[in-house]
């Protein structure tokens, strides 16, 4: 158990550094789409929701999981779609 926790911490810290490095160079133009795109990624909690909803028989856990699946899917689908809608508009137009 403790080994799992430690590995998790290592992964967390390294991924945070990767995040800082990757995102630091984003130009201000893209900050809003970036925020909403990152937001969609945070919907990854859907994986956890799926895992706890998994069991066949109904109990409190599966009900909680079921609600979590709905909420996380809203986050994921809505987040990615709205980001795409924004980015669609970012086209280089010919100067008139």
């Amino acid at each position: 158990m403790e080994a799992g926790l430690l590995t998790g911490l290592v992964v967390f810290v390294l991924a945070s550094f990767v995040g800082f490095e990757v995102i630091n160079k984003v130009p201000p133009t893209l900050h809003t789409p970036l925020m909403s795109g990152a937001n969609a990624i945070s919907g990854i909690a859907v994986v956890g929701a799926l895992l706890i909803t998994g069991t066949k028989d109904w109990n409190l856990v599966t009900i909680l999981g079921f609600i979590a699946v709905i909420l996380a899917t809203v986050n994921v689908v809505g987040g990615f779609l709205v980001t795409d809608r924004m980015l669609q508009m970012f086209k280089k137009k010919e100067a008139s």
Partner: protein, 466 residues
């Protein structure tokens, strides 16, 4: 067979995590951003499909129902939302994401407790963390949404004994946590959950509506951390990676916004702006001659039409008035007459970082016409006319030269260095910071009073007649 499958699932998670990083990286350049978003979405799809292959996941019917319901709600919301309402949208998505994470934390704690009768120390600790972060994200985001949407008053809300009450709450949360670590008791766990939800609301309540974008950005970071906590709970590295990425990005954006307003994060969160600090600025400022010159749109059109170069400074006022399409029309009209038109974008123009860029992109303004503050500020002394539309504090020279002003030190657009400035504004009222703007009283500044949309469309037709 089983081990092969599990290895396959783990590898799929690895691919998903890699796609998230790649996607975020590509989101960093306008040319590849759309592809980046798509890659991240593909990563998400891979992660979900891989999870469904897990042998312990059997409840397919209900999962399908839940995912379809969620997809429909999400898709409709994403399609319907107006671009001006983007901060609210991100806010509410943060909230549901945080809620999902908190629910998973509660559910997993419950499952372990009911199946084994006890919960290991580290699992309890992480569950508390997950519930805390997720709960705060949920109620904090909902309140931020309500404030941005105008459902709840935008001004900071305080009540008597707020500090002692918060402190008491924090103390009881810590006590409860320690108790839970020693003895996993469902009742205590539920109490902690309730306190977490209360924390989120209390955290956002005393922050003014104008600072909500910073809060949304910070909560975005939290929603990532909440997902990361779920990763710890389930020993899933991919969740941890995704959570850490989002946590880092939210933190960076929060910092950018705070820097652009020249206020430390602690001041945004804990110092109710517009209170005592403004009183100091009002009395300490240098006395200026408060006469201003106002013109009509015909005169304004002449100044613009015969200029060589015009810089447009859009503010949130323009976005609220939905004047961005008119502004674009005005700009292309001027360009036809040989005027060099640029847009100057302050980092906190709009309601979240980069919001103004999105709004202008929606109105078909090419992104290479938009100039960041640092790039355009060196050019202002060579600009004939600066056209300020619905912006106030971000062009206030007091931020540069009046150290008694509450906005002193905030980086601003040096509109006062341009040869002429035209300010489109509803009235002489002060901006969000509640400070007077000496730019408006300068000799070279002229005011054009009215709603941004009306004035801009008048300008367009007047310019056409030149």
């Amino acid at each position: 067979m089983n081990t092969y499958l599990n290895t396959g699932i783990e590898l799929a998670y690895l691919i998903a995590a890699a796609l998230f990083i790649l996607g975020l990286k590509k989101l960093g350049s306008p040319a590849t951003a759309r592809k980046g978003n798509f890659l991240a979405a593909v990563g998400m799809l891979i992660a979900i499909v891989a999870t469904l292959l897990n042998q312990s996941v059997l409840n397919y019917e209900w999962i399908l129902v839940g995912m379809i319901a969620g997809s429909l709600i999400g898709a409709i919301a994403a399609k319907k939302v107006a671009m001006t309402d983007m901060p609210q949208m991100v806010g509410i998505f943060n909230g549901v994401g945080g809620a999902a994470s908190a629910l998973v934390a509660v559910g997993e704690f419950w499952r372990v407790l009911t199946t084994t009768g006890t919960v290991p120390l580290d699992a309890t600790f992480i569950a508390i963390l997950g519930v805390l972060i997720g709960g705060v994200t949920l109620t904090g985001s909902l309140l931020a949404f309500a404030k941005l949407q105008g459902l709840v008053t935008g001004s900071p809300v305080t009540f008597p004994f707020q500090q002692p009450f918060n402190f008491l709450l924090l103390a009881s949360f810590l006590t409860g946590s320690v108790y839970l670590l020693i003895k996993p008791d469902p009742a205590v766990f539920l109490t902690l959950t309730a306190i977490s939800l209360l924390f989120g609301a209390l955290f956002v309540l005393p922050i003014g509506g104008g600072d909500m974008p910073v809060v949304v950005s910070l909560l975005n970071s939290f929603s990532g951390l909440a997902a990361g906590a779920v990763g710890f709970i389930l020993y899933n590295n991919m969740l941890i990676v995704a959570g850490a990425l989002v946590g880092a990005s939210g933190l960076i954006l929060t910092q950018i916004m705070c820097k652009a307003m020249n206020r430390p994060l602690t001041n945004v969160l804990f110092g109710a702006f517009g209170g005592d600090s403004v009183a100091v600025g009002g009395s300490g400022g240098t006395e200026i001659d408060k006469t201003y010159r106002s013109i009509d749109s015909e005169e304004g059109a002449m100044m613009l039409g015969y200029a060589r170069s015009v810089v447009i400074v859009p503010g949130y006022g323009m976005a609220v008035a939905q004047a961005q399409h008119g502004v674009r029309e005005l700009a292309s009209q001027l360009e036809k007459m040989g005027v060099d038109v640029k847009y100057a974008i302050h980092p906190v123009a709009g309601r979240m970082p980069g919001h103004m860029n999105v709004l202008l992109a929606e109105a078909n303004v090419s992104y290479d016409r938009l100039y960041d503050m640092d790039d355009i500020n060196t050019e202002f002394d060579r600009v004939d006319v600066a056209l300020v539309i619905g912006a106030n504090d971000v062009v206030n020279p007091a931020a540069r030269n009046d150290n008694a002003s509450p906005i002193y030190g905030m980086p601003i657009l040096d509109v006062d260095k341009a040869n002429r400035a035209i300010v489109i504004k509803r009235s002489m009222r002060t901006g969000f910071a509640g400070v007077d703007n000496e730019l408006f009283y300068k000799d070279k500044t002229t005011m054009l009073f009215g709603s941004a949309q009306d004035i801009v469309s008048q300008l367009v037709s007047e310019v056409k007649q030149l």
